[in-house]
């Protein structure tokens, strides 16, 4: 005879476990939990609490939720030892939160969910080195660019390639759906920028889920070259990956803070305030300082 009581007990135990897991699921935030907590200072001190818009809600909550994808050092990665997020984007977002006068909480959604817009209020702002493109501008509001990333190409250290034109017709690894993917296919459309023709004619473009995997692909022989952000390539070389950068950067892309256009509450004031903060951070040198810290060079001024 089936031992009904025992099995029921097992079911009950697992059901309780489920509820505990689900309860724990919603509450925990991670990474850098706070941004210095200057509640009462900054923008929130002067913004009317009854304005009923997104900024007012953030101020009353005392926390702004920022999305990040910790798979992209040096912009954003998880420091395994400390359990905190770290990176250029992390620092910039923290500084913006400080200026607003709120704490910061992190979400780690899939990148495709971030660039698609319609965030459902799950997070308020994205500081993720997002390139402003025409398609993205349809669903997201962008601040002025907070830095410009040079895009470069790298090959294995023992490769004989010395200039970018030699890569015509070869296989190039990129992170799928990134601007490098579009650039190589000739479909990169950034308002206000003209990229001309890519010096790599007719490449075979292979997309991977992250830059890290794309670099691995080159090292494993799956691709002849990898195209990615120059700081990312330099970080990889720093960490001992045997690649070398070829030639000069191919283009500079403007990267901005993004806020959902379709949020329930009006995001306009938040966009305006964040844009003002970004411009101030340019003017008083904060951004340059952070850029030197994480990239070793000042990428915050357009090199065009």
């Amino acid at each position: 005879m089936m031992q009904r009581i025992r099995i029921r007990g097992l079911f009950a135990m697992v059901a309780v476990l489920a509820m505990v897991a689900a309860a724990c699921g919603g509450d925990e935030t991670d990474g850098a939990g706070s941004g210095g907590g200057n509640a009462g200072e900054g923008v929130c001190a002067t913004h009317p609490a009854d304005a009923g818009d997104l900024l007012a809600e953030i101020c009353s909550k005392g926390t702004i939720t920022v999305s990040t994808d910790p798979a992209y050092p040096p912009q954003s990665s998880l420091n395994v030892e400390t359990g905190e997020f770290e990176g250029f984007d992390i620092d910039v977002a923290t500084e913006i939160a400080n200026q607003l006068g709120v704490d910061i909480a992190w979400e780690e959604p899939n990148w495709n969910a971030i660039i698609a817009g319609n965030w459902q209020g799950r997070w308020d702002m994205s500081v993720g080195s997002m390139t402003v493109t025409v398609e993205r501008a349809e669903v997201l509001n962008f601040s002025p660019a907070y830095y410009f990333t040079p895009a470069a190409v790298a090959v294995p250290t023992d490769s004989s390639v010395s200039s970018v034109d030699q890569l015509s017709g070869t296989t190039v690894a990129v992170c799928a759906g990134c601007t490098y993917d579009h650039y190589l296919s000739g479909t990169l459309d950034i308002p206000g920028f003209d990229f001309g023709v890519s010096p790599i004619a007719e490449p075979v473009v292979k997309g991977y889920d992250t830059d890290s995997t794309a670099i691995q692909a080159v090292l494993s022989g799956q691709a002849d070259a990898v195209m990615s952000a120059l700081p990312t390539l330099e970080k990889a070389i720093d960490k001992g990956r045997e690649i070398k950068v070829v030639g000069e950067p191919l283009f500079y892309e403007p990267l901005s803070v993004a806020i959902d256009k379709s949020s329930e509450l009006d995001p306009t004031s938040l966009v305006d305030e964040v844009s003002a903060i970004v411009e101030e951070m340019h003017a008083d040198g904060t951004l340059s300082e952070l850029s030197m810290k994480w990239f070793g060079e000042d990428l915050t001024v357009s090199a065009e």
Binding site: V14, L17, A18, A22, G25, S77, Q120, R122
Partner: protein, 334 residues
């Protein structure tokens, strides 16, 4: 000199060429070595080859050693996700199976649609849909704000629900087959005794069906342990990151995805081995009353059959009596 090599009651295959003494002696010697030992030897050789390949590939073992703790820390979350999902799946499977067996058009139709959709679409698409599409869908229905917010699911919860729904669909068919495998005579006898449908199911049919259901269900659970990796694509927070997500994070931080994923693979393999062992024990426990003492449920002795002719026909040479099973001859370990 044609030597007759025979098993018990077995005759030499007609085409076998006569063989010399040395092959015979080898066959006889090998007969004395227990089967398990031979299998263990095979595994050792395979592992030796794997270790050789691993060493030759020059992976960054220093990195692997330093990140092992972090990646294995995801173990608890993998198990939690799998356990909660399997419970959800079991409940859905039971309901779905009865739906599939029902004569009620609504029950039959709905359960049919459920199995068709959730078996017919990829699990990762289902995870995406449940995490991101539910919210906007509900919004357009014009329900109250609180209901809307409820449907904007935490990625962790959404992932579990998707896994549960997906595996529930597959397990519905398993449960249905299990229930149908109980002979109809049992059902008729129960009805003749005056049992209601519920009583019949609970006391007669299901207990017998369980035995058929457990092996494929256990199999599904073991498969689900690996599918928990897909939950990370919903955007689960680091605090609840399971093995794969942690491997991804650690690997991308140091630009060593290969080493990180190797560690993850080893972790999943070990986990699978543990659960397979427990499943085997459960199966053996459940099969008491169905298997004769003295038989092994999984026959490790291949009954000698005339195989393709060859110089050594080891199967023909193995005498089954030496491996009589748990209740067999003294001195036989199990």
């Amino acid at each position: 000199m044609a030597t007759e090599r025979v098993g018990v009651g077995e005759t030499q295959p007609p085409n076998a060429p006569p063989s010399g003494g040395r092959m015979d002696r080898l066959a006889h010697a090998s007969m004395r070595v227990p089967f398990r030992l031979k299998v263990a030897a095979v595994w050792i050789v395979i592992f030796a080859i794997l270790i050789f390949i691993f060493a030759a590939a020059k992976f960054d073992t220093e990195f692997m050693r330093s990140r092992a703790d972090f990646i294995l820390g995801g173990l608890q979350w993998t198990i939690i996700v799998a356990l909660v999902s399997i419970v959800l799946a079991l409940i859905l499977a039971l309901i779905g199976a009865f739906g599939r067996l029902s004569r009620n058009p609504i029950a039959y139709g709905v359960s049919g649609f459920y199995t068709s959709f959730f078996r017919g679409t990829p699990l990762i698409v289902q995870i995406f849909l449940i995490t991101f599409a539910l919210g906007p869908l509900v919004q357009n229905l014009g329900v109250s704000k609180r209901v809307q917010e409820f449907f904007i699911l935490d990625p962790f919860v959404a992932g579990i629900i998707a896994l549960g729904l997906n595996y529930g669909a597959y397990m519905t068919e398993i449960f249905r087959a299990g229930i149908q495998s109980v002979s109809h005579g049992q059902s008729e006898a129960a009805e003749a005794l005056g049992m209601s449908y519920r009583q019949k199911m609970r006391r007669v049919v299901l207990p017998q069906a369980i035995r058929v259901i457990i092996p494929p269900t256990g199999n599904d659970f073991i498969a689900m342990l690996k599918d928990t990796a897909l939950v990370s694509f919903a955007g689960v927070a680091v605090a609840q990151a399971e093995i794969f997500r942690r491997a991804e994070l650690a690997g991308t931080e140091a630009f060593r995805p290969l080493e990180a994923f190797l560690l993850a693979a080893a972790a999943y393999w070990a986990l699978t081995a543990v659960f397979t062992f427990f499943q085997a024990r459960l199966e053996r426990r459940l099969s008491t009353g169905y298997v004769r003492a003295g038989d092994e449920p999984k026959s490790k002795t291949r009954v000698p059959t005339p195989g393709p002719a060859g110089p050594i026909d080891v199967t023909a040479a193995e005498i089954p009596i030496e491996h009589a099973g748990p209740a067999g001859l003294p001195g036989q370990g199990h």
